[in-house]
């Protein structure tokens, strides 16, 4: 591996205040308690953030309810212009927000800068354009918003998940109360400032920070009309239970255990890049990560040798360094979960391998890891690890590949690597997964619907389809 001098992105572009309140009705207000958010790369405390209590959630929902009438009554063209403004402000502040995101989340700056932030701006730009075209979207001639949306998002793509939730909700005329994840609240609070810069009417967007209890209180709030959640399948199940019978609309984007299927006619070098991207992008903190590699037996040795060579060139370290490929694990709790499941992988008989890799002494880190000799019964082949850990299985025929790929309660995404178009399309037809990438992986676009089959959740985010979740 070439030795590179450190090339850190400057932190000076972002100013983090020592404390942040809740963003309710267009103002930052104090909550009852506070909690600290840390940089997972250094364990440095970045800020103290308000912990929203039930009465704070009540206030936020009430503000959203008050704002709903006038906001939904605005002509679509006017709502569009607010959203276009937000998209433009995000574009102009994108470097600042990228640095902030890498600090609070631990993801490499080259990902926050080149993937997260461009997609965030594009998502607002895309849904801005729908606000005055809802009648053309195919959901009836006079579609109506639902009301107040309670939205709870995860820590793996904090600002991008916010965009996926807020942009379509606002375009359709809803107002929102959004709770960012406990470990990554800062970019949502900066987004609150973006809303103020855009002169968005107070109450249309409310940001409440907190932990699981805050989220639970929000989704169970009787004056919330629509619940949108991205996170673990377990919490998704609890939310589905609590929403059941209330008449609230619900969309869930949950876990995954995606198969990345490599056939013997695949271009090996491209496939290796796709496998690396599929599982090590964002430290593997990706619900659609290609965490199960299914490789055709005849090319398994060649492919694995190539994959290990490539893994040895991955740079793990400072998220703000522009050469970093793999940043910090988002939290101590997540690191413990990854560590535990990896130990189970070894104890169940799979063979573990990581490249030689020096990890920083402070912060939360996990070396890129693969397990070979994995069977379908192994827990590392069945459970979502949500870290940079790949389980490798083999197959002999396309039928067997499909069988194994579908042998999971999840169904979020899948990858297919082959030079044969007809095979790709036939395999894609048989896969029970909401997104199928062929000869590529982890591609996202605001125009493209995303979401899962089976226990990976229901509803789609993105594209024309993404409007449906926010329209009556």
């Amino acid at each position: 591996m070439f030795e590179y001098a450190p090339a850190p992105e400057s932190r000076s572009i972002v100013t983090i205040e020592p404390t942040y309140g809740l963003f309710i009705d267009g103002e930052f207000v104090d909550g009852k308690g506070t909690f600290k958010t840390v940089s997972p790369a250094s364990e440095e405390v970045l800020a103290e953030v308000a912990m929203a209590a039930p009465e704070d959630v009540d206030r936020a929902v009430a503000a959203a309810r008050r704002a709903f009438g006038p906001w939904s009554a605005l002509p679509g063209a006017e709502r569009a212009k607010y959203l276009f403004r937000i998209a433009r402000i995000i574009q102009e502040r994108s470097r600042e927000l990228a640095v902030l995101e890498s600090l609070d989340n631990g993801k490499p700056i080259k990902e926050s800068r080149d993937v997260d932030l461009p997609l965030v701006a594009a998502h607002f730009f895309y849904y801005a354009g729908w606000a005055d075209k809802l009648a053309y979207a195919g959901f009836g001639g006079d579609p109506k918003p639902l009301g107040v949306a309670g939205q709870v998002i995860p820590w793996n793509f904090p600002l991008l998940m916010l965009a996926w939730k807020i942009a379509p909700a606002l375009a359709a005329g809803n107002t929102v109360v959004l709770k960012p994840a406990e470990t990554t609240p800062l970019s949502a609070l900066f987004f609150a400032d973006v809303c103020r810069q855009a002169d968005l009417p107070p109450g249309v967007v409310n940001i409440i920070t907190g932990a699981g209890d805050t989220g639970r209180y929000l989704v169970e709030h009787p004056d919330v009309d629509k619940v949108a959640f991205t996170g673990s399948t377990e919490v998704g199940r609890q939310i589905a239970r609590s929403v059941a019978g209330t008449g609230k609309r619900l969309t869930l984007e949950l876990g995954g255990k995606a198969a990345n299927i490599v056939f013997d006619d695949a271009p090996i070098d491209q496939a290796v890049e796709g496998i690396v991207n599929g599982i090590f992008f964002n430290q593997g903190h990706v619900c659609c990560a290609g965490s199960r590699l299914l490789v055709q037996e005849s090319i398994a040795d060649e492919l694995l040798a190539s994959l290990k060579r490539r893994m040895a060139t991955l740079r793990v370290g400072d998220p703000l360094d522009k050469n970093t490929d793999i940043g910090a694990i988002n939290s101590r709790a997540q690191l413990e979960k990854i560590t535990e499941l990896s130990e189970i992988g070894s104890s169940e008989g799979a063979e573990r391998w990581s490249p030689p890799c020096e990890l920083p002494s402070r912060g939360f880190w996990f070396a890129p890891t693969i397990f070979t000799g994995v069977t379908q019964a192994h827990r590392i082949a069945r459970e979502e690890i949500f870290g940079p850990v790949l389980s490798v299985l083999t197959f002999r025929t396309p039928e067997e590949a499909v069988e194994k790929a579908n042998n999971t309660p999840y169904g979020l995404s899948a990858g297919i690597w082959s030079d044969k178009g007809s095979r790709i399309l036939a395999v894609a037809d048989k896969l029970r997964a909401g997104v199928v990438w062929a000869n590529t992986f982890n591609k996202f676009d605001p125009t493209s619907p995303f979401g899962g089959y089976k226990e990976s959740g229901y509803g789609r985010e993105g594209g024309r389809h993404g409007l449906e979740a926010y329209l009556a």
Binding site: F125, Y126, G129, W130, K133, E399, S422, L425, A426
Partner: protein
């Protein structure tokens, strides 16, 4: 220089001191991203301004420029084209006073800006509304998607809202246009907006002059793919142009009756200028 009253020692001017003499704008054509005069050297008077009077050769030059710019513009991402059209809206907003000085009412400028915003949003949505996954009866992937038809000749109305309403749908879908403008000062001021809006040179070309003189050359031009005759008010000219367009089977957009540009334009201004491409591919292990 700081402002100050004339000192007592200043000598009185022999000519009565005028207020500052203004610099007038010259209204030329807009072709290939530049502002050339008509190759014919002709001008005509409009509200006291000498305005370029475009010729047949100017029309041909404009078609060349439009054709040259078309492939790159069509291959730009829809997102990129949408942002460019949005930028045009930003720049019209910034130049409101210029349009006001040309007598355009504020509410018409508002409507023109909002029309640009409406079309900016269509760039990456028109395919989602007009395209299809087709469930053919066999093991085939079959997808239909729109593509731009190519170079569009546009006979434009005189108003700013009308001009924007015929140019935006053509370019947001990936076509390039040759516009025969009816209101030269407004059209060339709009050209100045385009020239400062990240619209690549040649995507929009604007000719001032007499549409009745230049339009037939566009209608019969072998390298023009479509004609927008929305603003042609003379029925005889319209029929003549439609007939000429038939020679190369140009797509012709000519809505019945007079177009109310303040109304929701619907999809027709875009779909009339789009082809549909359907791709088949077999499926099988």
């Amino acid at each position: 220089m700081p402002k100050s009253a004339p000192t007592k020692t200043a000598k009185p001017a022999k000519i009565a001191a005028p207020t500052r003499l203004s610099v007038r704008k010259t209204y030329k054509l807009y072709v290939g991203g530049a502002f050339p005069r008509s190759e014919s050297g002709r001008t005509y008077l409009v509200d006291g301004d000498n305005v370029a009077l475009a010729s047949r050769k100017d029309a041909r030059d404009a078609v060349l420029a439009a054709r040259k710019a078309q492939p790159k513009w069509a291959s730009a991402t829809a997102y990129n084209r949408g942002q460019v059209v949005y930028r045009v809206a930003e720049m019209v907003e910034a130049r409101r006073s210029e349009f006001a000085a040309l007598g355009i009412p504020a509410d018409e400028v508002d409507a023109a800006i909002d029309r640009l915003i409406w079309y900016a949003g269509w760039s990456d949505k028109i395919a989602q509304v007009t395209g299809n996954a087709n469930p053919v009866a066999g093991p085939f992937f079959n997808l239909s998607a729109p593509e731009p038809t190519g170079v569009v000749g546009v006979v434009a109305p005189a108003s700013l809202l009308g001009l924007v309403s015929v140019v935006a749908p053509a370019i947001v879908t990936g076509n390039t246009v040759v516009v025969l403008a009816a209101g030269p000062q407004v059209a060339i001021t709009f050209a100045e907006v385009l020239a400062t809006s990240d619209v690549p040179g040649g995507v929009v070309n604007i000719l001032t002059g007499r549409a009745a003189e230049t339009a037939p050359w566009l209608a019969s031009h072998d390298d023009v793919n479509a004609l927008d005759l929305t603003a042609v008010t003379d029925p005889e000219l319209a029929v003549e142009l439609e007939r000429a367009a038939a020679g190369t089977l140009k797509r012709v957009l000519r809505p019945a009756g007079e177009t109310d540009f303040t109304a929701d334009p619907g999809l027709r201004p875009m779909t009339a200028l789009l082809e549909t491409k359907t791709v088949w591919h077999p499926k099988g292990f």
